[in-house]
C-alpha cells in the first residue's frame, strides 16, 4: 500500500535537520508502516526505520519518547535520532534511528532452547509490562515477531512499538491471533487485560508455532481452552492462561505472582500440586462453570498454606520450650553442685 523506497547496501542517508550521516548495511525487516535497516554511523551500528508516511513515523517516535520516560524498563529500543531525508533530491522521507537490538525472535529462541524458556521469558515480559502499564500505556501489538531475546543472559526486548496506546483509548495496531476482539473475547479498549490476553496467546503460540484459525462453528473461548488442554506444556499453566484469556487479571503483577506461584510449586513440592491439577482437569470437562472452581482451588491453596504455618508455629514453640527447660536444668545442676 505504502510504497517505501528500497535502499541498497551502501546507500548514504543524511538528515535534513541534524545532518547526521547513516550508511545502510542491510535490510532488517518490513513493518506495517515502513522498512527497517541496519545502518552504520558515528555511534556504531543502529537500526533505522524509514517511511514515506511521515505521520506514522512521528506517531512511533512519540511512543518511543514516552517509553524512555518509563523508569527502569528495557522493554523498547532507545531512540537516538529523528530526521527527514531528501530522497532523489525531491521527495522527503521521514526516519528515526534507534538502538540495534540483536538476538533471536521469541519463537526461534523457544524452539531451539526448549519450550520451558517460554515460561521464563513470559515472566520477564510481565515485569516489563507492569511498569509500562503503571506509566499509563498499553503495548497493543504484542506478538513473538515483535519480541527479541537479546543477551546473554537472555532478556526479552520489544522492537516494534507502533501499537502502543494510551490507556483508555482504542488499540492502534493489532494482529488477529493475539487480539481478544478477533476471538470474540472482548473489545479493543487499551487496558492492562488487553495486553495480558496477548501474553497468554504468545504462550499458546509457543506451543503451536504454526498458529491456528478461529473456527466458524464454535465460540473462541472454548476453542482456545481445548487447545490448552491438548498440549502438556500449556496444561501445566492452564490456571493462569485461562484467567488471562478471560480478562480476570487486572494487572500484570497479579498474573506474574500467580505464575511464579505455579512454577515454584511445581518444582519443589511437585507431587501434591500435580495431582491436584489432574483432578481439576478431569473435573473440567464442561466449559461453563470455570469461575467458581477457580476460587475453590485458590481457597484450598490458602488453607494448605495456613495449615503449614500453624504446624511451623507449633514446632517453634516446642523447640523453644525444650531449650528453656534444658538450660534451666543445667542452671539448677550448676547451682546445686
Amino acid at each position: 500500500m505504502n510504497q517505501v523506497c528500497n535502499l541498497a547496501p551502501g546507500s548514504v542517508i543524511t538528515g535534513k535537520w541534524n545532518q547526521e550521516r547513516y550508511t545502510i548495511i542491510k535490510a532488517l525487516g518490513q513493518g506495517a508502516t515502513g522498512n527497517v535497516y541496519l545502518a552504520d554511523c558515528r555511534r556504531g551500528n543502529v537500526a533505522l526505520k524509514l517511511s514515506e508516511n511521515s505521520m506514522a513515523i512521528t506517531s512511533e517516535v512519540n511512543v518511543l519518547k514516552h517509553f524512555s520516560k518509563v523508569q527502569g524498563t528495557l522493554l523498547g529500543p532507545s531512540l537516538l535520532d529523528v530526521d527527514d531525508w531528501k530522497y532523489n533530491s525531491q521527495r522527503l522521507v521521514s526516519f528515526y534511528v534507534m538502538e540495534y537490538v540483536q538476538g533471536k525472535n521469541f519463537l526461534e529462541f523457544t524452539e531451539q532452547r526448549g519450550i520451558e524458556w517460554a515460561g521464563v521469558l513470559t515472566l520477564q515480559l510481565l515485569t516489563n509490562l507492569e511498569s509500562l502499564h503503571q506509566a499509563g500505556w498499553i503495548f497493543g501489538d504484542l506478538k513473538p515477531e515483535n519480541l527479541i531475546v537479546s543477551g546473554p543472559p537472555p532478556r526479552i526486548r520489544c522492537i516494534d512499538v507502533g501499537g502502543t496506546t494510551q490507556q483508555g483509548r482504542s488499540i492502534k495496531e493489532f494482529t488477529e491471533f493475539f487480539d481478544r476482539g478477533y476471538w470474540g473475547m472482548g473489545n479493543r479498549k487499551a487496558e492492562p487485560a488487553y495486553d495480558l490476553f496477548s501474553v497468554a496467546m504468545i504462550m499458546i503460540n509457543a506451543a503451536y508455532p504454526k498458529r491456528f484459525k478461529k473456527s466458524n462453528d464454535r465460540d473462541g473461548q472454548s476453542q482456545l481452552i481445548e487447545k490448552i488442554k491438548q498440549h502438556p506444556f500449556l496444561l501445566k499453566h492452564e490456571d493462569v492462561l485461562e484467567k488471562a484469556l478471560t480478562g480476570n487479571y487486572l494487572s500484570a503483577g497479579e498474573m506474574k505472582s500467580d505464575f511464579i506461584h505455579l512454577l515454584s510449586k511445581k518444582t519443589c513440592k511437585g507431587r501434591s500440586a500435580s495431582s491436584s491439577y489432574k483432578t481439576k482437569v478431569s473435573k473440567q470437562s464442561g466449559p461453563q462453570p470455570h469461575k467458581p472452581k477457580k476460587t475453590q482451588t485458590q481457597q484450598t491453596r490458602q488453607q494448605v498454606k495456613k495449615k503449614k504455618k500453624k504446624a511451623n508455629f507449633f514446632l517453634e514453640t516446642v523447640v523453644i520450650l525444650i531449650g528453656v527447660c534444658v538450660i534451666y536444668s543445667l542452671y539448677v545442676y550448676h547451682v546445686l553442685l
Binding site: 512521528t58 488499540i171 476482539g181
Partner: protein, 272 residues
Amino acid sequence: MIIVLRHGMIEQRENLWRMEHLSRRVSMEKGHLKQILLITDGCSNHGEDPIAMAALAQEQGITVNVIGVLEENVIDQESLQEVEGIAMSGGGVHQIVYAHQLSQTVQHVTRKAMTQTLQGVVNKELQQILGKHTSMEELPPEKRGEVMEVVDELGETTSLEILILVDTSASMKPKLPTVKEALLDLSISLNSRIGDNRFSVSVFPGKKDDVEQVLDWTPRLESLSSIFPKLSTGGITPTGPAIREAIGQFKKKRSLRNLLRNEEEYYDESSM
C-alpha cells in the same frame, strides 16, 4: 535580520504551541467526521460515473474510502483504476485485498482515513496561524510530534458517522459472509474509541431501486448478523448512483437532527 527572525520564531511558537487551542479550533470546525466506506469487487456498469459522485461527496465534507475485494490470482486493471479513482476524488483511502484479509483491512482503512482527514483539517489551521505553504511535514520533527498528538487525540475523541456501501452484485455473493465478519470486527474497533460512532449500511443493487438501506443510523452494528444472510444478489453494479444516494442519507440525518434541535429550543423557551 537575525533578531527579527528570532523574534518571529518566538511569536510563532507562542501562537502555535498552545496545542489545546489548536485542538479546540479543529474540533469546532469538524463536529463529526463523515465517511463512506465502499466495499466492491469490480467495475460499475450502471448510472453516473462513481468517480464524479465521489468528488461530489468530497465537496460536501464527506470522505469516500474504497476497499476492492479481489479474486486470488486475478488482476483486473480496469477495476483497480476505478477503485483508485473513486478514493482519490473522494479524498479517502483505498486498498485492494483478497477476501480472507478483509477484517484487518477494513478497520485499518477506516482508521487511516480518519487520521488523514483530521490531518487535513489540522494543516489548514496551521496554515492560518503560520501563513501559507506550511504543512505538518515541513515542521521540525520535534514540533511535528506535538501536532501529531493533537491529531491522535482528535481521532480518538471525535464523533464518527460512517456509511457502509456494500456491492451485492452476483460476483460478490461468495464474499458476503467475510464482509459481514469484517464489518462486525470494525464495530468492535470503533466502539472501543472514546468518541461516538454512528453506522448505516446500504447495499447496491437493492431489491427495487439501485440502492437499498438495510440498516438505519445506529451506534451498534451487531444487528447486521441477521440482515446479511437474507441479502439477495443482483446483476448490475450501480456504484455511482449508490454514492449519490449515500450523500443524501447524511443530509437526511442532519435535517432530522436540526428538527429535533429546534424542538428542544422551543421547549426551553416555553419552560422559561
